[in-house]
């Protein structure tokens, strides 16, 4: 048996009970969905695991706007018709490549956001899609995913109860690209681009890049460079060149910063070309 610091495992029936336990135990308590990260990245100070799977948060609701419960597994999302149909099937395209089938039966969408791994393929996709989170921190509220990720280092973490994806705009598309050393490895760099067209001009635009090796974030310089354009081939080439310098990349053991700069340019170009193709453009 693998040695562990876990001394209590509880499965509360209400969000209020979970929050009360977190308030009482502080850093000694950890919430889990599938529990994968609690195994792989065990925190020595954590002695209590709070399993969220009895809260009734495993669902995919809605037809246009999607509401996905925090403990919904990736396999359950992939099997949900509304999720499969969302924005040309972009959720399926990405989630089918996340981890293995065995892990997708365990891993949850709330868990992957809460863990916020820099290499996550899911987080840049959700950023590009404009995801919002329903959270609980003594009260229920809704916050953009961008805010949750920005606040997590400084303000403590509210409990994620639901992920909401907005109804797709009439003429819109999203594309995702990830670069890995092997099919089994995590991304050296990944990016997702969402573009809506209004009277032939781009806007709103959301472009997120992750694995830089920092946690994924939106890149406003690229978004601004696309907004208002017709997303033609020349625009895509210009924005892709801009990506080389606009994205803050670093060296780590997986790749050098120089390698990542090249990948950023290629990734952004591929995503924008795919989006342009889906929107009937010339990109």
């Amino acid at each position: 048996m693998v040695p562990t610091a876990i001394r209590e495992y509880v499965r509360p029936m209400s969000v209020d009970d979970v929050w009360a336990m977190l308030a009482e135990r502080g850093k000694a308590a950890q919430v889990i969905g599938g529990g994968i990260d609690a195994h792989l990245y065990a925190v020595p100070d954590v002695s209590m695991l709070i399993d969220l799977t009895a809260l009734g948060l495993s669902y995919v609701r809605g037809e246009e706007e999607l509401a996905i419960g925090a403990t919904t597994t990736f396999a359950e999302i992939l099997e949900a018709k509304p999720a499969r149909a969302y924005l040309g099937g972009v959720l399926v395209d990405v989630l089918e490549q996340v981890a293995s089938p065995l892990q997708r039966n365990l891993g949850t969408i709330g868990g992957t956001i809460g863990s916020a791994h820099p290499w996550s393929d899911v987080i840049p996709l959700l950023l590009a899609l404009g995801a919002e989170l329903n959270v609980h921190d003594g009260r229920d509220r809704s916050i953009p995913l961008t805010q949750y990720l920005a606040d997590r280092a400084s303000c403590g973490r509210p409990l994620i109860t639901e992920v909401r994806l907005p109804a797709p705009l009439p003429q819109s598309a999203c594309a995702f690209e990830a670069f890995t050393t092997t099919g089994f490895d995590v991304a050296i760099l990944n990016c997702a681009c969402f573009v809506a067209l209004d009277a032939g001009r781009c806007g709103p635009v959301r472009i997120a890049v992750g694995g830089t090796p920092a946690l994924a974030s939106r890149v406003s310089a690229l978004e601004e460079a696309v907004t208002g354009t017709a997303l033609d081939g020349a625009t895509i080439d210009r924005v892709a060149s801009l990506a080389t310098d606009a994205i803050d990349v670093r060296d780590d053991r997986r790749a050098t910063a120089d390698h990542r700069r090249v990948l950023a340019r290629i990734g952004v170009a591929r995503c924008l070309r795919r989006v342009a193709g889906e929107l009937g453009g010339t990109g």
Binding site: T4, P101, Q103, N105, L106
Partner: protein
């Protein structure tokens, strides 16, 4: 703490440690078909069906399975007859050292329960969480194709 599990159709109440893995519990209870491999969810040798879904039992807390149903490779036979996936692995030679076989069979059973007529690509994707160090996966893929055919009622008698 105490949990109750239905393992291969047999309901059991067992004392566990709160941080214990389902993998360790199952092996302690004698289910040796559940193999210890990487311990990090990469190799799939420890796969079991938990409430009908194939999972890495090395990544599941035993406490999480409380009240649920587990099927290990030992629980796939019916009345002394191997599961069609097991038969197909034997018939197609999809086994070499055998260490990955239980997990691969479990993953294939899960795949075929949801997709009775998978393409080769879908089989490859369905087994992508199971590593085999001996073979090139070709015979396992053929075995799943054969099992799918048999389970759809198109198998032969020989």
């Amino acid at each position: 703490m105490t949990i109750t599990l239905t393992i291969n159709g047999c309901r059991k109440t067992m004392a566990i440690e709160p941080g214990e893995r389902l993998l360790d519990l199952l092996r302690r209870e004698g289910y040796a078909g559940v193999k210890i491999g990487c311990g990090t969810g990469d190799c799939g040798a420890c796969a079991v069906l938990l409430n009908g879904r194939a999972v890495n039992s090395c990544l599941v807390y035993a406490a999480k399975a409380d009240g649920g149903e587990v099927i290990t490779v030992e629980g796939l036979e019916r009345d002394g007859r191997l599961h069609p996936v097991q038969e197909a692995f034997l018939d197609e030679g999809g086994i070499q050292c055998g260490y990955c076989t239980p997990g691969m069979v479990i993953a294939a059973v899960d795949l075929l329960s949801r997709n009775p007529n998978p393409t080769e690509t879908e089989i490859r994707q369905g087994l992508s969480g199971n590593l085999c160090r001996c073979t090139g996966y070709v015979k396992q893929i053929r075995a799943v194709q054969r099992a799918a055919e048999v389970m759809r009622g198109g198998g032969c008698d020989d």
